[in-house]
């Protein structure tokens, strides 16, 4: 005799045996969270690189070209920092890299096509999201174990400070005068939040 429950009732599952040793080994859970943080930061810097590449592809001969190139170079450094951390801690990169490769470029190019001020508005929106995200991560790491995560926190702080500079530069260059500034920044911020949530897990 075999008892078969309907698929609807199959969700009535007991959890697997929870080993108390696993409950006590909280350091492994912390490590997985840090892995997720590094993964999303790496994906974020990669995306930022692609955004600037898209902007340069359109505005490469404009008067903002030098400024965009400078910011792009800084983003390349950030990506290098996170590349090294990812390899050191053997963190899996996000599976959505091909998607961010295209989406980042399209976002940068799309905003640049609307004009220099739109490009700056895009930069401001993205950098604002990234700064907020980095601050959240720093808080979490500081609460857990600042000594253990000192290297990662230093890297995130450096990147956060430079992203804040990019944000301020963008504002100085007239981002707020871009057409549909509020709508564009709101949409980009929502997109960034979704990208962060996805890249942490996937």
């Amino acid at each position: 005799m075999s008892l078969r429950l309907s698929p609807a009732l199959r969700h009535l599952r007991a959890s697997k045996f929870t080993c108390n040793n696993c409950l006590r080994k909280k350091h492994t859970k912390i490590s997985d969270e840090v892995h997720g943080m590094l993964r999303v930061d790496h994906a974020g810097e990669f995306g930022a690189n692609r955004i600037y590449a898209g902007q340069m592809a359109v505005l490469g001969r404009s008067k903002s070209a030098a400024l965009i190139q400078h910011m792009w170079d800084q983003e390349k450094e950030h990506k290098k920092i996170f590349d090294d951390l990812m390899v050191k801690h053997r963190v899996r990169p996000t599976a959505l890299m091909p998607f961010w490769h295209i989406a980042g470029f399209l976002l940068g190019a799309g905003s640049a096509v609307l004009g220099e001020k739109s490009a700056m508005a895009c930069t401001v929106a993205v950098e604002a999201s990234i700064v907020e995200h980095y601050n959240d991560q720093l808080r979490k790491l500081a609460n857990e174990n600042p000594e253990k995560h000192a290297e990662i926190m230093a890297a995130i702080k450096k990147c956060r400070d430079e992203e804040q500079e990019h944000h301020d530069t963008g504002m100085d260059k007239g981002a707020e005068q871009a057409p549909l500034y509020k709508a564009m920044t709101a949409a980009i911020k929502v997109g960034c939040k979704a990208a962060i949530a996805l890249s942490t897990k996937v």
Binding site: L12, A14, S15, K16, F17, T18, C19, N20, N21, L23
Partner: protein
């Protein structure tokens, strides 16, 4: 039929008088059962008996009385209260134990023999040899012995004893120690766990099936409503015992939750301690090994 109607009418009057307000009695989040018990015992030699506070010396007798009253209708009530799901829980429990012949198994608080018979069937053992059923309550053992003879398990041993002090059992005797829906009735759970550790052989397995805490809050509300509103009523209707089943549901709330009980098992010396929830945490199987 007339007696049933009379009982129902009496019950309605009784319920209105009682006016159950269950929310204040729920002690889920505050059930630091172990700490409360040990604190109370340290301070004034008192412990809980359901939601009442009684002296430690009295608890064992009170529990004895409860089970003496319910012994005859114990199995029937189990079926009614859990809609037969207790059979699944016990089947899963024995499946997790996975005993094999030849082995010596001690089933504590196993009065009516539910677990022991299942183990015997799992072993395809025709006479139940190697299985010892221990219970503090002779009435429960008598019911079990009677059922065993009906089922043909003549090789089982029936031992009256207290889980806190199994003095008649030598050290390192048994391969497995099981206790199903019994450990919450013990006055000093830590002593029972230490005794379990003592009587097991090195590598021996301790398995406990007990009511625990429902994890999901919405389901917990439903479960509490059912426990406090329906179970004592069913106890009165089917077994004629209101207080015994009120004690049952109250004692469940007083018992430590999954993690706390697992901690107690570890402090008794067991290793590889783990637990598994069944039916969203209504019951949990805890398991540990003596090294």
């Amino acid at each position: 039929m007339a007696s049933l109607i009379r009982r129902t009418l009496l019950l309605r009057t009784f319920c209105r008088a009682k006016r159950f307000t269950c929310h204040s009695q729920y002690v889920h989040q505050e059930s630091a059962g172990a700490e409360r018990m040990s604190n109370s015992s340290k301070e004034s030699n008192e412990t809980h008996f359901g939601f009442q506070t009684v002296k430690e010396s009295e608890k064992a007798d009170k529990v004895y009385e409860v089970f003496e009253e319910v012994a005859q209708s114990y199995d029937k009530m189990n079926d009614a209260m859990s809609f037969g799901i207790h059979r699944l829980w016990k089947d899963i429990f024995v499946d997790r134990l996975a005993p094999s012949k030849p082995c010596k198994i001690l089933d504590v608080a196993g009065g009516t023999g539910d677990i022991a018979f299942r183990i015997a069937k799992y072993l395809r053992n025709s006479d139940g040899g190697g299985i010892t059923v221990c219970d503090i309550n002779q009435a429960m053992l008598d019911v079990g012995r009677k059922r065993a003879s009906e089922l043909g398990f003549s090789g089982m041993e029936w031992l009256q004893g207290n889980a806190e002090c199994l003095s008649s059992i030598a050290d390192n005797t048994y391969d497995s120690y099981t206790i199903a829906f019994g450990i919450r009735n013990v006055t000093h759970i830590d002593k029972a766990l230490k005794e379990a550790y003592r009587v097991l052989k090195p590598g021996g397995q301790f398995m406990c099936l007990e009511f625990s805490q429902v994890q999901n809050e919405n389901l917990r509300w439903l479960y509490d409503q059912y426990s406090f509103q329906a179970i004592p009523v069913m106890g009165q209707l089917i077994a004629g015992q209101w207080k015994a089943y009120q004690y049952l549901v109250e004692s469940i709330r007083q018992f430590p939750n999954q993690e706390e009980f697992a901690g107690m098992i570890e402090r008794a010396g067991f290793a590889f301690v783990r637990h598994e929830n069944l039916t969203f945490g209504v019951v949990a199987i805890h398991c540990g090994h003596k090294l």
